[in-house]
């Protein structure tokens, strides 16, 4: 009984402490912080920041669609800038992992989730306060859910400073899809044909689709693709039990060219 009470107390303490705002969250498996892309934060400019997640070797978290198992990583940003709506950072393209037929979209090692903030010229605070609400499931052989509120204050520059930047954040932008393309979707009994209005001069080697809409496609099979004039078509088989909404398909498409270059687009398909 005493042991149970002690365990309950420790568990409550962990939960209680997890709900406190911290400048940086850190445990044995994961650390999370807000980092600026430039040393100087300026008014009247769009400043780039990122949520930096560092995972201990062997551990991973999930993309916005975790895949067949796991839970999405949820990140929400608010600030002390007046009338600034809630910001969802951008999710870089995840790593595809197939474990005995269970496909997941994961992040390992270090991952940056970038976001831009416009600070008005008339912003009257000396410090910019950014609050991050984060929720995740970190897994290795076991999965451990976590959540944290992280608050970081950044001094706003008042004079001219030497411009220094965090190159890791700028480099990470390469893995974040920027442009959105509206495609067409044709559904048959066992698969979907996704049609992109795109034409590349370079030869395509591979096309891959990371669905944001969950529960529609069988993630295990590599999609077939073909090019025809100004269109690229991709065939994706349906999952055995469809529970997602087939009328609103969203995802990220990854085009790999023969020269090794990759391009990413956010895609939305309409029937």
């Amino acid at each position: 009984m005493k042991k149970f009470a002690l365990l309950t107390f420790i568990f409550s303490l962990v939960l209680f402490s997890a709900s406190f705002a911290v400048e940086k969250y850190r445990d044995k498996r994961i650390s999370i912080e807000i980092v600026p892309a430039t040393k100087v934060i300026e008014k009247g400019k769009t400043n780039l920041f990122a949520v930096k997640v560092k995972l201990t070797k062997g551990w991973h978290i999930y993309w916005q669609n975790p895949g067949d198992a796991g839970e999405p990583t949820i990140l929400e940003i608010t600030t002390n800038i007046p009338n600034q709506p809630k910001i969802i950072p951008q999710y870089p393209v995840p790593t595809y992992k197939n474990t005995s037929g269970i496909v997941t979209f994961e992040y390992r090692d270090i991952v940056y989730f970038p976001f831009y903030l416009w600070i008005p010229r008339d912003f009257d605070k000396k410090e910019l306060e950014i609050q991050l609400k984060a929720k995740w499931l970190v897994c290795k052989h076991i999965c451990i859910p976590g959540k944290a509120v992280i608050v970081k204050k950044f001094r706003i520059a008042t004079g001219n400073f030497q411009f220094q930047q965090n190159n890791e954040i700028f480099n990470s932008l390469r893995f974040v899809p920027k442009d959105t393309i509206i495609g067409e979707i044709k559904l048959s009994s066992n698969r979907a044909l996704l049609i992109f209005p795109l034409n590349f001069e370079d030869r395509l080697r591979k096309v891959f689709f990371y669905p944001i809409t969950e529960g529609v496609f069988d993630l295990e099979l590599e999609p077939e693709f073909s090019t025809n004039g100004n269109k690229i078509s991709m065939r994706l088989p349906f999952v055995r039990y469809i529970w997602g909404d087939t009328s609103k398909i969203e995802g990220v498409v990854e085009f790999t060219f023969y020269n090794g270059e990759k391009k990413y687009f956010i895609t939305k398909f309409v029937k």
Binding site: A69, G101, P145, Y241, W243
Partner: protein, 201 residues
């Protein structure tokens, strides 16, 4: 000679049909035979005419623990098995992977959680799990009295490990079984399963 070839061909076709079996909603649930923790062979088709609940399980998964520590699943097991429902908990964890436990430990956990499943079945090669497309623990499949698979998905609509969420959750499994017991149609057929991945070999 001709007869021998014919028999061989039939045998081949039969084994191919067995291999090609795949569970699909609104279709006949594929049959299987698995050993339970008491060494008894359990054949799904032996329970035709009954409502059968298949629950993929891994006692070490925090999502499974949520529903067992809270007694959410054990209470459903007790309630529905008393009404003639057959509740099969199936563990597809491969030896050496999370959830693959010695029989003594499984029995200990069943007692600890006051679980009341009809059978705890061992599927360590994962064949039945893959035949049904079990992705997570827990993941539920419900078969009606006619032997058709009528539900695949989560236990409820709150994909978390927080026990407190159970109170406000919509319990899909209870809704489907209640509907079947009263002779009606399940209010939902497919939902998103949530939990740990099944630890197949």
């Amino acid at each position: 000679m001709k007869n021998a070839i014919l028999i061989l061909m039939m045998l081949f076709a039969f084994s191919f049909a067995l291999l090609a079996q795949e569970a699909k909603i609104d279709q006949q649930a594929p049959d299987f035979k698995l050993e339970d923790i008491n060494g008894m062979d359990v054949l799904l088709s032996d329970y035709s005419g009954k409502i059968v609940v298949l629950e993929w399980i891994n006692f070490d998964c925090p999502y499974v623990r949520k529903h067992y520590q809270s007694e959410n699943i054990p209470k459903m097991q007790e309630k529905y098995t008393k009404q003639g429902v057959i509740w099969m908990a199936i563990c597809s964890s491969a030896p050496g992977k999370e959830g693959y436990l010695p029989v003594g430990e499984i029995k200990k956990r069943i007692k600890q959680y006051n679980a009341k499943m009809s059978f705890y079945l061992i599927d360590s090669d994962g064949k039945v799990g893959k035949m049904y497309g079990a992705k997570t623990t827990p993941h539920f499949f419900i078969i009606n009295k006619e032997g058709k698979l009528v539900y695949s998905g989560a236990v409820d609509d709150k994909p978390s490990t927080n026990i407190e969420d159970i109170k406000s959750a919509r319990n899909y499994v209870a809704e489907v079984v209640d509907a079947l017991l009263s002779g009606g149609n399940p209010p939902v057929k497919v939902t998103k399963p949530y939990g740990c991945s099944v630890k197949y070999k």
